[in-house]
């Protein structure tokens, strides 16, 4: 009995002259529900689809007619094949199985489909129906549209030729089916070998490289327990999935391989194909390969094994290992509820390779995208991850990074255990990391990739990447274009005025005012519009924080001087910089402040308590005049005093004119209102100014705790950040507590509005409304991280002394905050990205591209009053 093994996706070419029973066979399989009707395409079917005609007979017609009919038939056939091939190629692209029901007697037809299989990385199989000529002729007589004796005979001649060449074609399999075989045909559909259901959870393990001790340690940490038969079993039924390179370089490759052989065979684990694995597989297979880069250690281990257990045992082991390695799949797709969730691969993959198998794909998955060799003969790795668009998380190893690196929904979990780094496990679907630190640097090579990475981490960024504009791929916003118009002034700033690039690991985003102006008369901005915006976007809980009127400052505070060098390449207790990256204070004052803060933090045990080397804070620093003294005196005080002088003088003169009987009452009323406005103006800016002496008078309100050395806090709600704010205010007298309210219903909303009215009437700037989550989306769309609502009085110093005059206000209400909002989202996403990258110890260049992007966006022309 012949069994036909059908792959999950691919092309099955039926081969045989008319009347061999191709259609009959396929119909039977459909009826038996072995295959789907939609999996079959036939030239007959497409002839009807394109022309409504199934068959044309030109037998027995006069010559001129038969020629015309023949031509028509050719035309129809050609169109039908084009359409059919198009459909087949689309099915191939989607990794579907397709049976092609046509005679396939010409060699070029075979080549065409084999080429298609290659292009789409799917197998092509031939099923040849080999029926005798006599039988074919007999069957033709019984047809509704007999093809005719001559045509059958002619086709049979072609078929005999086909039988000769078909053996040489690179088919995955060729099934030869005579009349007997066709009587009892068994069809078996192979399961898709690359799909795995997540079931009870999977623990993905990065490159082990024979670090068997660390591997066992991580299994214990993950909760696996060794049973009596030596299997490591998880009580919850979780499975192990290795991303490959379990061997080479390290001390105990054979034991690790034996572990996987045992566990893979028993169905407790999976192991993916990889470059080192493939090399050893071919070596075991007797291929002529040169063992280097730690593969020679594996050979040495086998020799040792042979000495210990004899050559027979060694041979058995070698066979087992060879089989394990040769059978390893290029990648796996992990499904959750039938949906693709994770792709596990060793070195990299392209989206259209996912779920398919071919030599080319296997090679790519083993080595990643390689772009030739560098001057030292090492491959220059191209970044395949940037083109990843589909929704699966791609887990990979191969290229050791100091920390798990998430870039564009691809996650590298090779932390170079064999190079003295650590072994990482990624628990899915929990999305948690578990790691074990290497006992030592086993590889002991001069170009240790982790050290190399660390050495290059703070290398100056390549300016050529930025000069003509560039784009940053952010987790929150996707790709953000940064144009050269903005890059140039930003580079100018960074070259002249800012603190060193290494220290700018975050810049705060611009903040939008209410998207719509107030519907109330006499108000330009009002909290209602901010609440409206968030509620309309599905946000139920909001946090409103008092907006301190000072200047934005970023505080980057280290546990001690030495530790800072490791992070930013300079010994310092910390640095405080403005929203444009410039030093906030003169050097002496900064040193004073930073050392007081350091003392207070150390004394309170902050760094120990949170096991962190630094804390990164986003804050408002008061008073306003610390940073803005010149602006206040030359601009605000000057304008306010000038206005008041002008109006008071005028008032006296007009009053006199009025008393002399001139009709200027309107003018007097006007100037009276003007005097009042000017007085409000003068009162407002002075509210934010006070004398400071040394540290006295300086207040710092940290409203975002951005990061510690091993984590960022963008996943924490603002209520958490406010608790941190309180915690800091108790640690140092320099830190100021920020008042806030939570808004989640009518009553709390009314309370918040009353509060706003009260503080703004008192001259305070206003408050900031935030959705409770730091990063908030609605239907996939990122929402404003914060909206400022500024008070009526305060806005005098923004929109002018007389902005509230009805005629002025009605015009000012037509403002458009669209661009401000867009830039706020971009800058926010870039800021989050920068800190995340920094904490993951990515290169300065990768952090800096975000920071430079924020400065470049800030250089764009936007109404500064928004």
């Amino acid at each position: 009995m012949t069994t036909i093994h059908l792959p999950h996706g691919g092309i099955v070419l039926l081969v045989g002259p008319s009347n061999t029973g191709k259609t009959t066979l396929l119909n039977q399989l459909i009826q038996e529900e072995q295959i789907l009707a939609s999996e079959v395409v036939s030239s007959d079917q497409f002839r009807v689809l394109v022309s409504d005609i199934e068959f044309i007979s030109w037998n027995g017609r006069p010559k001129d007619e038969s020629e015309a009919l023949f031509q028509e038939y050719q035309q129809i056939s050609s169109a039908a094949f084009d359409a059919m091939d198009y459909v087949i190629s689309k099915r191939c692209q989607l990794n579907k199985l397709t049976f092609i029901d046509a005679t396939h007697l010409r060699e070029e037809e075979h080549d065409k489909y084999l080429e298609m299989g290659k292009k789409y990385h799917i197998p092509v199989i031939a099923m040849v129906l080999n029926i005798s000529e006599t039988e074919l002729l007999r069957r033709d007589m019984e047809r509704t549209f007999p093809r005719g004796r001559n045509r059958i005979k002619q086709q049979y001649q072609h078929f005999k030729n086909t039988l000769r060449f078909i053996k040489k074609k690179p088919y995955r399999r060729v099934y030869m089916l005579g009349e007997d075989e066709l009587q009892v045909l068994n069809v078996k559909r192979l399961e898709h070998p690359l799909y795995i259901d997540v079931e009870n959870g999977i623990d993905f393990i990065g490159d082990i490289h024979g670090c068997f001790e660390e591997f066992l340690e991580i299994l214990i940490k993950l909760g696996y327990k060794e049973d009596d038969e030596g299997y490591y079993i998880h009580p919850e039924g979780r499975k192990i999935l290795s991303l490959g390179d379990v061997l080479s370089r390290g001390p105990r490759s054979i034991q690790t391989l034996q572990f996987f052989h045992k566990h893979v065979t028993a169905g407790h684990a999976y192991m993916i194909d990889s470059n080192h694995g493939w090399k050893i597989a071919r070596w075991l297979d007797g291929k002529n390969v040169k063992l280097a880069h730690g593969d020679e250690n594996v050979a040495a281990e086998f020799e040792e094994y042979e000495q210990k257990y004899g050559s027979e045992a060694n041979q058995v082991l070698k066979e087992q290992i060879k089989e394990l390695l040769l059978e390893a799949k290029s990648h796996y797709i992990i499904q959750k509820n039938g949906v693709n969730a994770v792709v596990a691969v060793h070195a990299g993959i392209k989206d259209h390779y996912i779920g398919k198998q071919s030599h080319q794909i296997s090679d790519f998955c083993r080595y990643g995208d390689s772009e030739g060799l560098d001057e030292y003969g090492k491959p220059i790795r191209k970044d395949w991850s940037i083109s990843h668009k589909s929704s699966e998380l791609i887990l990979w190893g191969h290229d050791p990074k100091p920390q798990p690196l998430l870039v564009n929904n691809t996650l590298n979990i090779d932390q170079g255990v064999v190079f003295g780094g650590s072994l990482t496990a990624y628990r899915y679907p929990e999305r948690q990391f578990v790691s074990v630190i290497a006992k030592q640097d086993y590889a002991n090579v001069p170009d240790n990739p982790l050290k190399e990475w660390e050495r290059k981490r703070l290398a100056p960024p390549n300016i050529m990447k930025f000069l003509d504009g560039y784009s940053v791929l952010t987790e929150q916003y996707g790709e953000i274009m940064i144009y050269d118009d903005g890059v140039k002034p930003a580079l100018d700033d960074l070259s002249h005025y800012t603190v060193p690039l290494e220290e700018i690991v975050y810049l705060p985003p611009t903040m939008s005012p209410t998207p719509k102006t107030s519907r109330l008369e006499g108000y330009l901005e009002h909290p209602m519009e901010a609440f409206d915006y968030y509620q309309a976007n599905g946000v139920e809980t909001m946090v409103v924080e008092k907006k301190h009127m000072g200047s934005r400052g970023i505080l980057f505070l280290f546990r001690n001087k030495d530790i800072a060098k490791e992070y930013i390449g300079r010994e310092t207790l910390g640095t405080i910089y403005t929203r444009t990256g410039r030093a906030f204070f003169q050097k002496e004052l900064q040193d004073q402040i930073v050392s007081v803060l350091n003392e207070d933090l150390v004394k309170s045990g902050y760094f120990e308590k949170y096991n962190t080397d630094f804390v990164l804070l986003d804050a408002e620093i008061l008073p306003w005049n610390l940073k803005a003294k010149d602006l206040i005196l030359n601009q605000y005080a000057h304008v306010g005093e000038t206005a008041l002088l002008d109006r008071k003088k005028l008032k006296d003169l007009l009053q006199q004119a009025f008393e002399s009987g001139r009709d200027v009452l309107n003018w007097i009323q006007e100037v009276d209102a003007g005097i009042e406005n000017a007085e409000v103006f003068n009162e407002v800016y002075q509210k934010y100014c006070w004398e400071t002496e040394g540290l006295n008078g300086i207040q710092i309100a940290p409203f975002h705790t951005l990061a510690h050395s091993s984590e960022t806090f963008f996943d924490k709600p603002h209520t958490w950040h406010m608790e941190k704010n309180k915690e800091f205010s108790e640690i140092s007298r320099l830190f100021l507590e920020t008042e806030y309210l939570i808004v989640q219903d009518e009553a709390s909303m009314k309370g918040a509005i009353d509060w706003w009215e009260e503080i703004t009437e008192d001259g305070h700037e206003g408050f900031v409304v935030k959705p409770v989550s730091y990063v908030t989306r609605h239907r996939g769309k990122l929402l404003q991280p914060a909206i400022k609502v500024r008070g009526r009085k305060y806005l005098h110093i923004i929109y002018g002394i007389d902005y509230l005059l009805p005629d002025n206000l009605s015009r000012l209400k037509k403002r458009n905050a669209g661009k401000k909002q867009r830039n706020a989202l971009k800058e926010f996403s870039l800021g989050v990205e920068a800190v995340n990258r920094f904490v993951k110890r990515e290169s300065l260049e990768r952090v800096h591209e975000c920071v430079l992007g924020i400065l470049a966006l800030e250089a764009e022309p936007i109404d500064p009053r928004l």
Partner: protein, 447 residues
């Protein structure tokens, strides 16, 4: 912005005819969207006072300007301070008086000198009260300057000026038509030839002999091209030594020294002027014999634009290789600067924080690998010979080193590099303090 004129004495009431404004009716006109108003607070035969003021539309005022994206553009004194905008706006209302063309029967009063008191303000100016007085006193006024009230500082910057003296109404208005814009810091409109004509017309009869004539012309017209067109312009034969400060001479000496040194080098085809500023050195490098490529690297766009102009102005000369101005920065890696013959850092490093220098020299010496690197920087010891008010020679200098400090740093940068360093001095040598400028030459060994 306002101006009030008080006239006392017999026939004071004639002034209403000179300005052609009815004392009983408040006057209000629209002038290019601004309101111009005039009213008489006092009116009798012996004493009259009129005030004229302009009310601009504050929102209109800030439209259509090049600095729309700066907050100070929206909060400024233009709405209040007297300025050329004020003068232009009231000119029509006071045209009769300014031009001296009242009804015929009052023509004789045009030149009549009354006892007047003229107040205007507020003024926004960088001039001191004394300087303001110096503008008016020579033409027959007593000057009083009053300050506004400030609650945030001791002295307010808002000022109000009152002039008194015997003047004809026409002359008084001519004086302030010229001098208010001169006092004011700011011009709201584009200046063109009409300004010259206006200055000549209103200045007639008093500006010619004014002791501050040149200052007035300069501040009224601002641009040399306009100033030289005025009839009041006088070419000054300035002592040529005046401009030539020792600093300027030192600059030239430095360029000369660097060029002379490069001339002696066997390899000088490709030269990089790193931190080129406005390209003064780059352009001279362009004339160096044997040079084939000059890269002039500078992060500031403003400076680069000036540099490019400079490079093109000499474009026609023979033996000139036009430098390429490129945007670049010492804090980044720039592959365009690799493997050049010469890199020059002329008076650049002292503008960079000291602790950032090791990384920069690491990049230059180990990644760019020039055959020769030339670095100049001030010699701090020499400063005692300058009469300096500040600690350093330039506001933006982050440090100035002694000779020993320079040597020490140079040695630390070249550790474990294939560079040999020699140090020279530039400028007049002092036996105790050395040269004003110090120069280090780094040569790649074996080259």
């Amino acid at each position: 912005m306002q101006l009030s004129l008080t006239v006392r004495g017999s026939n004071a009431d004639v002034v209403s005819y000179l300005i052609a404004k009815n004392p009983n009716n408040p006057y209000e006109r629209d002038e290019k969207g601004f309101k111009v108003r005039l009213v008489y607070p006092k009116f009798s035969k012996e004493e009259i006072q009129f005030v004229i003021y302009v009310k601009p539309d504050p929102i209109d005022l800030v439209r259509n300007s090049s600095d729309l994206y700066d907050i100070t553009h929206y909060i400024n004194d233009r709405e209040f301070a007297v300025s050329s905008l004020f003068i232009t706006t009231i000119r029509k209302a006071l045209g009769t008086a300014l031009n001296g063309k009242p009804d015929e029967e009052y023509l004789e009063w045009v030149g009549h000198e009354f006892e007047i008191e003229l107040s205007f303000g507020p003024v926004a100016t960088d001039l001191s009260d004394k300087e303001i007085a110096d503008l008016f006193e020579p033409i027959g006024y007593r000057v009083e300057v009053e300050r506004g009230v400030s609650t945030i500082r001791e002295v307010s910057s808002a000022r109000y000026v009152t002039l008194s003296g015997r003047q004809s109404v026409q002359n008084a208005l001519k004086h302030i038509s010229i001098l208010i814009p001169v006092i004011d810091n700011y011009k709201h409109y584009f200046l063109d030839e009409r300004e010259v004509e206006k200055l000549d017309r209103y200045g007639e009869g008093w500006l010619e002999d004014h002791p501050l004539k040149q200052l007035i012309v300069k501040r009224a017209l601002r641009f040399n091209a306009l100033i030289s067109q005025s009839q009041f312009y006088e070419k000054k034969q300035r002592n040529s030594g005046y401009d030539e400060s020792p600093k300027v001479r030192l600059n030239d000496l430095r360029y000369e020294h660097i060029l002379n040194y490069i001339k002696t080098l066997p390899e000088k085809e490709t030269i990089v002027d790193l931190g080129a500023g406005e390209g003064r050195l780059s352009v001279q490098l362009g004339f160096l014999e044997g040079a084939k490529e000059i890269l002039s690297i500078e992060p500031s766009n403003k400076s680069r634009i000036r540099a490019i102009e400079r490079f093109q102005q000499v474009n026609t000369n023979e033996g000139y290789v036009e430098p390429q101005s490129l945007s670049g920065s010492l804090f980044y890696f720039d592959s365009r600067l690799q493997n050049k013959d010469v890199i020059v850092l002329c008076e650049v490093i002292e503008h960079i924080e000291e602790d950032r220098l090791p990384k920069i020299f690491d990049t230059i010496l180990n990644d760019y690998c020039p055959k020769t690197l030339i670095v100049t920087t001030p010699n701090q010891e020499y400063n005692v010979l300058y009469e300096m008010d500040d600690e350093m020679r330039h506001d933006d200098h982050r440090f100035e080193w002694t000779r020993a400090q320079f040597v020490q740093n140079v040695e630390s940068w070249t550790e474990q590099t294939p560079y040999q360093v020699s140090i020279q001095g530039i400028g007049e040598e002092h036996e105790a303090y050395g040269h004003p400028t110090q120069m280090a030459i780094f040569r790649r060994e074996g080259e």
